[in-house]
């Protein structure tokens, strides 16, 4: 996943070519209902960008909670493994996910030499 992040950043960098942006922060949204552990991502990010054009850039991870919507009563709720992801109003299965599947680079803080 870190490799994917670096690859995406390399693609973004090409938009500014031939200038090289100096990246201060990368803001990432990681949903709770994904297979990504933010702490591991933070650790591997530091290693992955060492001695690259992204060396020194801070990765800021915003965790996005898992929110479901009950298709019966339309109420949103926080599904959890210990409740088998049931809707609290009627025990309905987790049918609709509103948030929690995000794996998104939200924004990049950077400077450009001019």
């Amino acid at each position: 996943m870190t490799k994917c992040l670096v690859l995406s950043m390399n693609q973004w960098r090409q938009q500014h070519s031939p200038a090289v942006p100096v990246v201060e922060r990368v803001h990432l949204q990681v949903g709770d209902f994904t297979c990504v552990e933010p702490d591991q991502l933070l650790f591997t990010w530091r290693v992955a960008v060492e001695n690259s054009w992204l060396d020194g850039a801070e990765l800021v991870v915003e965790a996005v909670p898992l929110v479901g919507r009950c298709v019966r009563c339309q109420q949103t709720y926080s599904p959890a493994p210990d409740t088998a992801y049931r809707s609290p109003c009627c025990d309905h299965p987790m049918e609709e996910i509103v948030t929690g599947r995000e794996l998104r680079i939200r924004s990049v803080d950077y400077t450009l030499e001019s």
């Binding site: 994917c4 693609q11 201060e24 992801y85 998104r104």
Partner: protein, 243 residues
């Protein structure tokens, strides 16, 4: 002079993999081949089920396999022995297949045969209930296996995998008499995270449930053909055609 800037990207972290997966899928569609991505934990019975399935269906369906493993070609050798073309993809230290690995496998497959001659392409993913769920490879449908020996809590512990699956196979049901496991509870937990997927009980050893599994496969192959021949096929619910 330096000016602080912020670019709002909204870029999916897996965008590059999605693009490659879409590219793979375009090839599958052009060849009119259904691609199924088979995933599970190590030892859930993917290869055993595929051995049985390939043997049972090879008279009716033209099939090939892209076989993912971290190391060794042991599984690829087992499946090749059935008489179906198999391309091994050794991932090294990577715990899942990604779309570019599958693209490489497709190029190797094309050196052996014309993919348009196939009805069905299997991708057997690396044994892992975590990462393969996030990395699509261009498949049309995902099949997840869960063996009865793994316990009934796994759909809740690894919910993304079971949420993403189109079909979940509960395998090794021949072992149920010897295990303190409640298969109804396994099914209920799968339904909690994915109410609409197909759930089948199967055993490659006893043969239980295999007729239903084979029927599901035939139905998907037929539906895929109908969908590709109908320009609006992706907007309608695929109908069962001579399953």
């Amino acid at each position: 002079m330096h000016m602080p800037l912020e670019d709002t990207l909204g870029l999916n972290l897996l965008a590059a993999n999605h693009h490659q997966a879409e590219h793979n899928r375009e090839h599958f569609d052009a060849w009119q081949v259904l691609c199924l991505n088979v995933m599970s934990s190590p030892g859930a019975g993917k290869t055993s089920l595929l051995e049985q399935t390939l043997t049972a269906l090879s008279a009716d369906l033209a099939m090939a396999v892209l076989e993912g493993d971290m190391t060794t070609q042991l599984d690829a050798d087992r499946l090749e022995a059935v008489g179906v073309p198999v391309v091994p993809i050794t991932t090294g230290r990577a715990c899942h297949l990604d779309a570019s690995m599958v693209s490489g496998g497709l190029k190797m497959l094309q050196q052996r045969l014309d993919p348009a001659s196939l009805d069905l392409l299997w991708v057997e993913n690396v044994g892992n209930l975590v990462c393969p769920a996030e990395f699509e490879v261009g498949e049309h449908l995902k099949v997840a296996l869960l063996s009865v020996t793994e316990g009934d809590d796994k759909p809740l512990k690894y919910p993304v995998m079971f949420r993403e699956a189109d079909c979940v196979l509960i395998t090794k049901t021949d072992l149920l008499p010897y295990l303190p496991v409640d298969i109804a509870r396994i099914e209920a937990h799968i339904r909690q995270v994915n109410p609409h997927c197909t759930v089948l009980r199967v055993s490659a050893t006893s043969g239980e449930g295999l007729a239903a599994w084979h029927s599901w496969i035939r139905q998907q192959v037929s539906s895929q053909l109908v969908s590709l021949r109908n320009p609006h096929g992706h907007n309608v619910v695929p109908q069962l055609v001579n399953a």
